[in-house]
């Protein structure tokens, strides 16, 4: 007992001290900020006075780390405080903080419909994106210029190559109603994600009838698509919903995963916004400018496969879809996002969901 406590504290000190240090380590300046436009240079000076940008997103810290390191190397004197949180929780936090006048989050990433409560409360700023991100296509600026598309997230169907032969794969959406896919043979997102484009493409009646019959196939329902692909890779079911970047990620890990070439899939639009009334407005805009720059988007694609997928962007995912003759349906406006949100409730009800 006499020796237990000191030994334990020594072990804990080694563990806590030995693993990765806090992100506040000072980066080496590279001076590449000098290559920025005059507007960005001016923004940098103002941002350096603020000294920090507070940003949240659904990406884990490892995915964001290369971006953070490059940003802090390019813009010394600005610390990026990052938290991994779901977009919905971030939106809720901002609304709660706004009621007390003490907003702490400078910006975040979200889908269009998730950020609508902020838009409705005028809690998003409308920066001049032409100055911040000159390379950004006009169609990427949404919600009255308060939201800039950062990447598209196609929701596809993945399959376990050890459990399904290519010839047995569905060719059309309706093929999922075949008897071979009945009885816990599919893993679906209980929220209806991955099926939300169908009411727009087919009409509501046909789409809701299809989803009702899909429910009768007794699929496994999971809270989100990331869980689905893990189960498919483990062999729990041969087929399942997946976000497209995860397919590449699992393939890189050597998992027996590939994706089904159905004629059309949907793509959610995830974008960036800066919070109105935030404590570091200039640093926030500079950070968003970096994320939307060619360099920032390339780092993001190299790290996590995420990218914009407008036709002609020639990203890895866009090429894969083009080569598979797969069409993408985009959520490309506030009006569509609102309609989609309403439709999603019905889809979730039809699937019997988690709620």
């Amino acid at each position: 007992m006499r020796h237990t406590l000191p030994i334990l504290w020594m072990v804990l000190a080694v563990i806590v001290g030995g693993c990765s240090p806090p992100r506040s380590s000072t980066p080496v300046a590279t001076g590449s900020a000098a290559a920025d436009t005059p507007h960005l240079a001016q923004l940098y000076e103002a941002a350096r006075q603020e000294g920090e940008v507070v940003f949240e997103s659904a990406q884990n810290s490892e995915t964001m780390q290369p971006l953070i390191e490059r940003f802090t190397a390019k813009y010394p004197g600005i610390h990026v405080s990052y938290a991994n949180r779901t977009p919905g929780e971030t939106v809720e936090r901002i609304v709660a903080e706004a009621t007390t006048g003490r907003i702490s989050i400078d910006g975040s990433s979200s889908s269009i419909r998730t950020v609508l409560p902020l838009a409705d409360r005028n809690l998003m700023v409308a920066p001049d994106w032409k100055l911040l991100a000159p390379d950004l296509p006009a169609e990427a600026r949404l919600l009255g210029d308060r939201f800039a598309a950062w990447y598209h997230l196609p929701n596809v169907l993945a399959y376990n190559t050890s459990l399904v032969r290519p010839d047995d794969l569905p060719k059309q959406w309706e093929d999922l109603l075949a008897p071979r896919w009945r009885g816990r043979k599919m893993v679906l997102d209980a929220r209806g994600i991955g099926l939300e484009h169908l009411p727009f493409v087919w009409g509501k009646e046909r789409a809701y009838d299809f989803v009702g019959r899909l429910k009768a196939q007794d699929p496994i329902l999971v809270p989100r698509s990331a869980v689905s692909i893990e189960r498919v890779a483990a062999g729990e079911a041969p087929l399942g919903a997946a976000v497209f970047p995860n397919v590449f990620e699992y393939q890189a890990k050597g998992a027996p995963i590939d994706w089904v070439r159905l004629p059309i899939y949907e793509a959610s639009t995830f974008g960036l916004y800066a919070t109105a009334g935030a404590p570091h407005p200039n640093a926030a805009q500079l950070w968003l400018a970096f994320l939307l720059s060619k360099e920032g988007r390339q780092i993001y694609e190299d790290t996590a496969y995420y990218s914009l997928m407008f036709p002609g962007t020639d990203s890895r995912m866009e090429r894969a879809l083009r080569e598979g003759n797969v069409q993408l349906w985009f959520e490309d406006s506030e009006a569509v996002a609102r309609q989609r949100a309403e439709g999603q409730k019905e889809l979730e009800r039809l699937l019997g969901g988690l709620r």
Binding site: G17, N60, G88, E92, A96, K253, A255
Partner: protein, 594 residues
């Protein structure tokens, strides 16, 4: 255990005695008043927030935004037939998990505290080990073990029987939820009742046996009635805890549409689109709170006569272990069986999962893919140093503050003579009916408003967790104090000891087993607690549990989450062993002093 009476000489003059008593009373009132006020604030504010939100129209607005007062939330809940299905599921799940868990925990407590079971230290540590595994990790482990198609247990059984591609077990069921919850709660139940088993004076049992009563008769008419406060406290407490539990019902029940109140509240506070409906969530929470109040009233009625349960008195007693004889092998086998189900199998499958880049059931073909990649990744994870430091701070601070506060409130409830003496303890216990998520939201609003700068720091998590664990501390210490007859404290006071000296040198040493056990329980639960930490964490105050959650629930990285779960298990095992070492060391010092 030694009972060191006051060593100072008895006060020799009436004047000095009077002044001493006056200061003593003042100190007592200040401490008691301060702690009571703290408890009332910690509990009253979230309660007020809960009641306020339940009568607000909060579809797509927050409770404090411009909206109306309404009873529509209550109408929605009580007029919806699914609410009664919820009630049925919740009661079935709660009743089953509590009964199964309590039977196992009581048997365990009796074996470890009253018999000559061998390998006690190891057995004790293994009982507590499941506590270190977050409920969601136990759920994940049992999904990997008993999922209908890829569960390891099912694969083995199917290969032995030669048929089918599903089953025989389906962990995604009400039975699966009861089984896994019982396994998860046995350690906590054990900690709550083991002190009572240990402190039971065997004189009454010996007297009954000498009069010719058999073992079962002694158990039914002597032992169980004496243990009734502790067993009842545990039953009531865990009935409310299980009803409010979220992790296991979420992972095992949602995919098959088995909804309970806790998951309903969570879903209402985590909509897919728009803002949470806190009005509806708070309404469900008010119903849960009403259940808790009823249970508390039942508890108070059953434990009214405290003195009849006191077995630790001023007379000396030496608990003698019961000789199990040949039965100890069967007892050992039963314990090994429990350890296998609760610790060995879940830990083994988690370790297996932690060594894989993506999960596959154990097989020879998978062996080449095993690596320590996830562990290297965890070591290098950005901000891991902050996360570990925060986790350690949370567990130490929460456990220590919770025990200090509930020591005062429990003592006041049991020994206080004033009419409102039990109010702080009752109020502390009411917190059990407030879901952690709603409690956390209340804390956000409070600390965004009042000028105490802990919002966004680790301390807001500590404050919220302390409020959350007050009920546990109050039940454990309340039951323990009930077993200590007041004559010991009265003897100390009559010898001139102050109230504070009596508390410090008489009450606390006698309560040490319960205090240590409860401290360990709170520490381990604080470091793995999820709902409150998730809502309150920002950059810089993340803890291990939030990282595990985001790794699994958001990113479905079973391997990485399993890795962090293994780290958490080792950390919590270390806490338990250190705490036991301290207690055992203190025990030896006291024995040497006698």
């Amino acid at each position: 255990m030694g009972i060191p009476l006051a060593r100072r000489p008895v006060a020799t003059s009436v004047g000095r005695l009077g002044a001493q008593l006056g200061l003593d009373r003042l100190a007592e009132r200040l401490i008691v008043g301060g702690v009571s006020a703290l408890v009332l604030v910690l509990v009253a504010v979230p309660l007020a927030m809960l009641l306020f939100s339940s009568v607000r129209s909060t579809a797509d607005v927050l409770p404090f935004e411009a909206t109306t007062f309404t009873l529509a939330n209550y109408a929605t809940v009580f007029l919806d037939s699914r609410t009664y299905e919820l009630l049925f599921n919740t009661f079935s799940f709660g009743l089953g998990a509590v009964l199964l868990g309590l039977v196992i925990a009581s048997a365990f407590a009796w074996l470890l505290e009253r018999t000559n079971l061998p390998a006690r230290q190891l057995a004790y540590a293994c009982v507590l080990a499941p506590m270190a595994i977050p409920p969601m990790m136990i759920a994940i482990a049992w999904i990997l073990l008993a999922s209908p198609s890829i569960g390891l247990v099912n694969i083995v059984l199917r290969s032995a029987s030669g048929g089918g591609d599903q089953g025989p077990f389906d962990i995604y069921s009400l039975g699966g939820m009861v089984f896994v919850s019982a396994l998860a709660f046995v350690p906590s139940m054990f900690l709550m009742i083991s002190g009572a088993f240990r402190n039971l004076d065997p004189a009454m049992e010996d007297a009954a046996r000498m009069s010719g009563a058999g073992r079962l008769v002694v158990l039914r008419h002597i032992t169980l009635p004496l243990l009734r406060p502790a067993l009842l406290a545990a039953t009531i407490y865990f009935a409310v805890v299980v009803v409010g539990a979220f992790d296991i019902p979420a992972f095992l029940g949602l995919t098959t549409g088995i909804h309970v109140f806790s998951t309903k509240i969570y879903l209402a506070t985590h909509p897919q689109i728009g803002l949470p409906d806190y009005g509806l969530a708070s309404t469900y929470a008010v119903i849960m709170l009403a259940l808790a109040v009823v249970l508390i009233a039942v508890y108070r009625r059953c434990t009214q006569n405290a003195a009849s349960f006191a077995t630790v008195t001023g007379k000396g007693y030496r608990p003698q272990p019961i000789d199990l004889g040949h039965w100890r092998f069967l007892a050992l086998a039963a314990m090994v069986g429990y350890l296998l189900l609760a610790v060995v199998l879940p830990l083994a499958i988690l370790v297996w999962a932690s060594l894989l880049p993506y999960y596959s059931p154990p097989s020879l073909a998978t062996l080449p893919r095993l690596s320590f990649e996830n562990y290297v990744r965890a070591w290098n994870y950005p901000g891991m140093q902050d996360i570990l430091r925060n986790s350690l701070l949370v567990l130490v601070a929460t456990a220590t503050i919770t025990m200090a506060v509930t020591l005062i409130t429990s003592w006041l409830a049991v020994r206080g003579r004033a009419r409102l003496s039990s109010l702080p303890d009752t109020v502390a216990f009411l917190n059990i009916g407030i879901p952690g998520i709603v409690l956390a939201l209340g804390m956000i609003f409070v600390f965004l408003t009042v000028p105490i700068p802990i919002y966004g720091t680790i301390w807001i998590i500590v404050v919220a967790l302390t409020a959350h664990f007050l009920p546990f501390g109050s039940r454990v210490l309340g039951a323990a104090i009930l077993q200590v007859h007041s004559e010991l404290e009265e003897a100390a006071r009559m010898s001139g000891a102050s109230w504070w000296t009596t508390l410090r040198r008489i009450v606390v040493p006698l309560l040490l087993p319960a205090l240590v056990n409860a401290w360990v329980w709170v520490a381990v639960h604080a470091v793995r607690e999820l709902g409150i930490s998730l809502l309150l964490f920002t950059r810089g105050n993340g803890v291990l549990s939030t990282l595990i959650w985001t790794s699994f629930e958001q990113e479905a990285r079973v391997g990485f989450a399993a890795t962090l779960g293994v780290v958490l298990v080792l950390l919590s095992l270390g806490i338990a062993l250190v705490a036991r070492s301290i207690y055992a060391g203190q025990h030896r010092l006291d024995a040497a002093a006698r």
